[in-house]
């Protein structure tokens, strides 16, 4: 192989080599049958990251997988796992008079229990702005001292330190008109929720590359040791994903579950200590409410005491109330790996990306949206 320049090493073409992918697929085909014989005829792996869901769907590799291998999309899309009650709180914040709501674009179309979303709140006069970074929201608060600027913070361990970093900068700058929600979820406890379900039938986890870039490998150790389920932290290029599946299959075949790192160009065993330190300073572990699962202790992050003044929900006294899932929607089962998008009676009929019922269709990286856009 010719030596790539450093820039080329991170660019796409080298990671999409057709011949290597074909060879990896034939290895997957061979191993899947061996692994399936050990798992009762079917091997189920789950990715727990919306970016993986999209990468798998966009590459078209799903239809090249052997029938004995099934990739399930787990609770890895932050918009999808946010409870209906928390979505209602986002919409209540958008109704605060004079406030500017800043958000990542994927929250705009998620409907609350009354059928409204941030887009329709905007049509009713709310000031809702999409930002690329929470730092843009902090800059806006500095530029508009007479207005309250609220950032809609949702996400996993990748996004929490980023929003924590923005809040820390706001605190340093003495900004009194900036606040954020902290509807953060933690990946390792989500895995434990899935694994402790007696109906669990997941034989391996493709672990999220960018969450792991922050938290490292250690927090997943219990998956392999306590539950005997293989884990591979995986990158996002097609060859990364095929290699990740190959590594998972090899663990199943060998009967030796462990936590491996395919994405070691970005993920160190110890993760990112500076990011974790900041996350621990700004947030503390709390109970979080998950769509379809309910409120579970120690599965999310809220603002720590030192940063409680930046909690938008507290500042504007927004109460939480449980709200039912949309009727007929299978998002909950899909998030738990118990159903695939086409199993849902609404999929592609009343629920499409342009008129979505459930969050897995609303979010561009939801399992249903990926399935609808790219097919199986």
């Amino acid at each position: 192989m010719k030596t790539a320049t450093p820039a080329e090493r991170f660019s796409s073409p080298l990671w999409r080599d057709r011949a290597l992918a074909a060879s990896a697929l034939s290895e997957i085909e061979r191993l899947a049958d061996v692994a399936a014989a050990k798992t009762g005829g079917q091997v189920n792996f789950m990715e727990v990251c919306g970016t993986h869901t999209m990468a798998i769907a966009a590459s078209g590799m799903r239809r090249l997988f052997p029938k004995t291998l099934r990739m399930l999309s787990g609770p890895g899309c932050p918009v999808c796992v946010t409870s209906q009650g928390d979505i209602d709180r986002v919409l209540a914040l958008a109704a605060v008079p004079g406030a500017i709501i800043t958000t990542f674009g994927d929250m705009l179309k998620v409907k609350g229990s009354k059928g409204l979303d941030l887009n329709s709140m905007r049509e009713r006069g709310a000031d809702v702005r999409v930002v690329y970074s929470p730092l843009d929201a902090v800059a806006l608060a500095a530029a508009e001292p007479a207005r309250q600027v609220i950032f809609i913070g949702v996400g996993f361990e990748t996004t929490a330190p980023v929003i924590g970093g923005a809040v820390a900068r706001a605190k340093k700058a003495g900004l009194k008109n900036f606040s954020s929600t902290a509807f953060f979820k933690l990946v390792p406890p989500a895995l434990e929720l899935l694994l402790s379900d007696p109906e669990n039938r997941i034989h391996g986890f493709m672990l999220p590359g960018h969450v792991s870039a922050i938290i490292g490998l250690e927090p997943y150790r219990f998956v392999a040791e306590k539950y005997r389920v293989p884990c591979v932290v995986t990158g996002f290029e097609p060859l990364d994903i095929l290699a990740g599946i190959d590594m998972l299959l090899k663990q199943v075949v060998a009967g030796k579950p462990s936590v491996e790192d395919e994405y070691f160009r970005a993920v160190r065993a110890g993760g990112n200590p500076a990011a974790r330190k900041l996350m621990e300073e700004v947030f503390s572990v709390c109970a979080a409410s998950w769509r379809a699962i309910g409120t579970v202790d120690a599965t999310g992050l809220e603002f720590s005491k030192a940063y409680a003044a930046f909690d938008a929900v507290k500042r504007f006294r927004i109460p939480y109330s449980d709200a039912p899932e949309p009727k007929g929607c299978l998002c909950g089962k899909i998030l738990l790996g118990k159903a695939l998008p086409p199993d849902c009676p609404l999929f592609g009929k009343t629920c499409t990306p342009s008129s979505a019922v459930g969050p897995c269709m609303v979010s561009s990286e939801g399992a249903c949206a990926a399935w609808f856009k790219y097919g199986d």
Binding site: M1, T3, A4, P6, A7, R9, F10, S11, L14, A19, L20, A21, S23, A24, S26, E27, R30, G50, T51, P78, V79, F104, Y132, S133, P134, L135, D136, G155, F156, T158, P161, V162, G165, A168, R169, P208, H210, V211, A213, I214, L217, D240, A243, D246, M247, K250, S258, V259, E260, E262, F264, R265, A266, V267, A269, N272, A274, A275, S363, E365
Partner: protein
Amino acid sequence: MCLAVPGKITAVTDNNAEVDFSGVKRAVSLDLVPDAKKNDYVLVHAGFAIQVLEPLEAQETLKLFKEIYGKAHGGAVSGPLSHIKP
């Protein structure tokens, strides 16, 4: 949502960097990667660098792919990816 994009740091001022994403330059915070320096490759998520990337390890991964998948599989157990270090 956890999308992160690699780019090269072209300038650093305090905790802020200018990062080149294949020709497009953006301001990026280095608050989460305090040791990052000019010419480093970083993974950027929502305006913050979240990790320094290792070009040599990227090269190593590509080399492993080539070694492992570059030859046809004859059914026997070929070099597993397990030698990718955990």
